[in-house]
């Protein structure tokens, strides 16, 4: 979409810097590198807008990518790396917010919406069925008379 101005913005802050993930950052161990890439997609570039450090070519994103790789090489687990980065930069850096009380509504929305919707439809359907059956049995005497008359006429 018009993500273009986003690009414009970070191009401005990153003049003279080559594109995201550069060859000199790549780790020799392919398994570690793969983990680093995966983690990078979950961390936000702080000076860009809604972009992961994996996509961004801002200097700060590069610093973070290098930091992630340093921690991995030092033997950290994925969650330890995340904790370390959050410890330094706050939860703002996470593109996937944590499951916490504060984010309860965020994570629960799909389930709540689905259950509420299903409940509403079922209740409405039941009520409608009840209303329809109630209506259909209660013909007034006049209506009954008219129906008999119509049926008689057709004979």
């Amino acid at each position: 979409m018009l993500n273009l101005v986003a690009a414009a913005f970070f191009f401005l802050v990153s003049i003279g810097i080559a594109s995201a993930v550069e060859p000199d950052e790549v780790l020799d161990d392919p398994v570690l590198e793969e983990r680093a890439r995966q983690l990078s997609t979950e961390l936000r570039c702080l000076v860009c807008q809604n972009q992961s450090i994996d996509d961004s070519d801002a200097q700060l994103a590069k610093d973070l990518r290098v930091l992630v790789r340093e921690r991995l090489v030092a033997g950290d687990s994925d969650s330890q790396v995340i904790d370390y980065v959050v410890g330094r930069y706050g939860e703002f850096v996470l593109l996937k917010p944590r499951f916490s009380m504060r984010n309860l509504l965020l994570w629960a929305t799909p389930i709540i919406a689905l259950l509420l919707g299903a409940f509403a439809f079922l209740t409405m359907a039941r009520r409608r069925r009840a209303a329809m059956t109630a209506e259909s049995v209660s013909l007034t005497p006049e209506e009954n008379e008219r129906i008999t008359k119509i049926l008689d006429e057709r004979d």
Binding site: M1, F9, S19, T41, D55, L106, A113, G117, F121
Partner: protein, 663 residues
């Protein structure tokens, strides 16, 4: 002078739409035909004045009249002519003017083409349309006037943002606005229905073509924008779950739900209240999108300009329309009589299922987009909600929906036969399983989810045509008979088949790129060869070149395909001279449905270049899918039932009676 005339036309449009906001509705309340009929000429006249106003702005841009502030800020004498035209809506003021122009165009087309609507309904629809129009024209005049002059006039402009200097800007925003604003018509119809308290199957029949048209434009606009971002931004992504993308995606989700629920209402008179609510919500979400983009409340960079005054103004419009319409709904909805009983396993049931998941998905995206804003307002904490969140929540919601897509159209109304429907889908299910086994056999490290995704996409794509096959009677009937039957099917059946198949294709593209994309990031020296998924890519040299308003370093690559064909690819690094802004122009080569994508970094002093190479398997399906949906929508729009279904005019009826009488 033309600039002042344009300004004046804008004011005239405001006055006319204010008249149209009041007079027709008084007419419909008093049953006064003359008052109601005023809307029939004020609506086209408003459109005319806005078109003149827009033309004045286009002229100022094309002639590079830098005495106009808006032109000075976004244009340059050296800018290519095409971008002098498209640059008109490449900024806040101009794009808002385009927004109201399209709004007025829809109102005018209801006045012109809606002659077969009951007069009171037409008058009310046009009045509601005028409320929206008046609000936004006022917004433009007060906060975002594109006709403000500069004195003294500067000699040279500041040029348009380079990333917007692309053919994409010519097509993407107008399509998107046609979609966004198109849903204003369904909103106005819903409001009119609540004002008059009358909603029946005929109402749904009138609304459906408008909803379908808006949906077609929105689908095309979103897909077009996605492809634009993919090739222009140069990092190969096609969807970023950015707040502004979400702002266009939420109305798409609810609009898709609306299309389906309107179907139930038209055919079975059920889901009336729900359809009305969806019509209100869909346009409300379009307004919310406009608010999010224009106000700058979300730190979205898509916003051309962030200005608190504008934000507050649009927020007021937003509250007025969303609040007002929901209030009216709360009072009027209980009065609407619903009808049409159905069991859970039925066409209606399937469409309810569709609506349930689509609206839940819309709610998920909406909450995800606004949550950081709310949290920050409540306790000052800053959090981010990005792609990993949406993949984890939106993705699973789509699975049951997509699994059900082929089944729905095969169920009959009122009471369906699930086993019978599934029997007709043996072929689709068998093919899906077969393809999944093939993928497992021929790839070594395919993720389980990717295999599942491919299976679902085959199921959806092939299953979409099950209804047509069933109706043709093939293989029981001979091929010629089957063909004759297929040719005689209503076009809307083809429409839904192509629409549904498009979903399957898009999914296949997303899974293909997500799971099997091949990426190489490396630094290359002249003459060096890189192997990208079987394509031998050789870096030739760097060629400096000069464009009209930029200079670029073209990075030449000679590519040899696995079949021996050779060709050249020329990505480049550009610097636009006026704004001193660098951009990356990726080179893309398409092979069937897959693409080779080369994005260069900067050229180092020693002549080496850092380059990202991608092999993107099946990537074009991501946009061919929406194309199929758009095509399906257009076929459906041309269905005779949509045109003939509406009541005939009195004149035509008289003629019919005369013919019968003479017979």
């Amino acid at each position: 002078m033309t600039v002042e005339l344009g300004h004046y036309c804008l004011v005239l449009a405001l006055v006319l739409s204010l008249c149209q906001s009041v007079v027709p509705i008084i007419g419909s309340q008093r049953n006064d035909m003359r008052l109601m009929a005023t809307a029939d000429w004020t609506a086209p006249a408003t459109f005319l004045f806005l078109a003149l106003s827009f033309a004045a702005l286009v002229k100022a841009n094309v002639t590079s009249d830098f005495s106009v502030q808006n032109v000075w800020a976004n244009s340059h004498t050296l800018k290519p002519l095409l971008y002098k035209y498209t640059g008109v809506w490449g900024n806040h003021e101009g794009s808002m003017l385009l927004w109201v122009l399209i709004l007025a165009m829809f109102a005018a087309s209801v006045a012109v083409f809606g002659k077969n609507l009951p007069p009171a309904l037409r008058a009310n629809v046009l009045a509601v349309q005028a409320w929206i129009l008046a609000s936004f024209v006022l917004f433009i005049l007060v906060t975002s006037n594109p006709f403000i002059r500069l004195d003294p006039a500067p000699f040279e402009g500041q040029d348009l943002n380079p990333v917007l200097q692309d053919i994409g800007l010519a097509i993407h925003p107008p399509l998107l606005y046609l979609g966004y604003v198109g849903f204003s018509i369904t909103f106005s119809f819903a409001m009119a229905a609540m004002i008059s308290g009358r909603i029946d199957a005929a109402w749904a029949r009138w609304v459906r073509p408008w909803a379908l048209a808006a949906w077609v434009f929105l689908t095309a606009g979103i897909a077009m924008g996605s492809y634009w971002a993919y090739y222009e931004l140069g990092w190969g992504g096609y969807w970023f779950w950015d707040p502004v993308e979400n702002a266009s995606f939420i109305p798409w989700l609810t609009g898709t739900a609306l299309l389906h629920s309107a179907l139930v209402m038209e055919k079975r008179e059920a889901l009336k209240v729900w359809t009305i609510l969806l019509a209100l919500i869909t346009f409300s979400m379009s307004l919310l999108g406009t608010f999010l983009v224009r106000s700058g409340v979300l730190t979205s960079v898509h916003a051309f300009a962030t200005d608190p005054e504008r934000g507050v103004f649009i927020l007021a419009i937003l509250i007025l329309f969303i609040g007002g319409s929901l209030f009216l709904f709360a009072i009027r909805a209980p009065l609407l009589r619903t009808g049409g009983l159905f069991t859970p396993i039925s066409r209606e049931g399937a469409l309810v299922f569709n609506n349930l998941f689509l609206t839940t998905a819309a709610a998920t995206v909406l909450v995800g987009t606004l949550y950081p804003l709310v949290i920050e307002a409540v306790n000052g904490a800053k959090i981010s909600v990005g792609e990993p969140f949406f993949n984890l929540t939106f993705g699973p919601l789509m699975i049951p929906l997509l699994l059900a897509v082929p089944i729905g159209p095969l169920l009959s109304w009122k009471r369906g036969d699930l086993m019978g429907a599934l029997q007709r889908l043996y072929f689709a299910a068998g093919s899906a399983l077969f393809v999944m086994i093939l993928v497992l056999a021929f790839t070594t490290d395919a993720p389980v989810l990717a295999v599942l995704g491919i299976g679902i996409s085959v199921w959806v794509t092939l299953g979409a045509f099950a209804e047509i096959i069933t109706r043709s009677g093939f293989p029981k009937k001979s091929l010629p008979v089957a063909f004759k039957r297929v040719a005689g099917l209503p076009r809307s059946i083809w429409g839904s088949a192509l629409g549904h198949a498009g979903m399957g294709l898009t999914l296949l593209g997303i899974v293909g790129v997500g799971a099997f994309q091949h990426e190489i990031i490396t630094s290359v020296t002249p003459g060096q060869k890189v192997d990208v998924a079987g394509y031998s890519v050789q870096f030739d040299r760097v060629l400096p070149r000069k464009g009209s308003n930029y200079i670029e370093d073209v990075v030449l690559f000679n590519v040899t395909a696995p079949n021996g064909n050779t060709f050249q690819m020329q990505p480049s690094k550009r610097v636009y001279t006026t704004r001193r802004m660098p951009t990356t122009e990726a080179a893309i080569e398409t092979f069937w449905f897959s693409q080779l994508y080369i994005s260069p970094g900067d050229v180092a002093l020693d002549g080496s270049v850092t380059v990202r190479f991608w092999w993107k398997p099946l990537v074009t399906l991501i946009w061919l899918g929406p194309l199929s949906m758009v095509f399906g929508g257009l076929i459906s729009l041309s269905d005779r039932r949509l045109r003939i279904g509406a009541p005939t005019t009195a004149k035509a009826r008289r003629k019919e009676v005369e013919v019968k009488a003479s017979a």
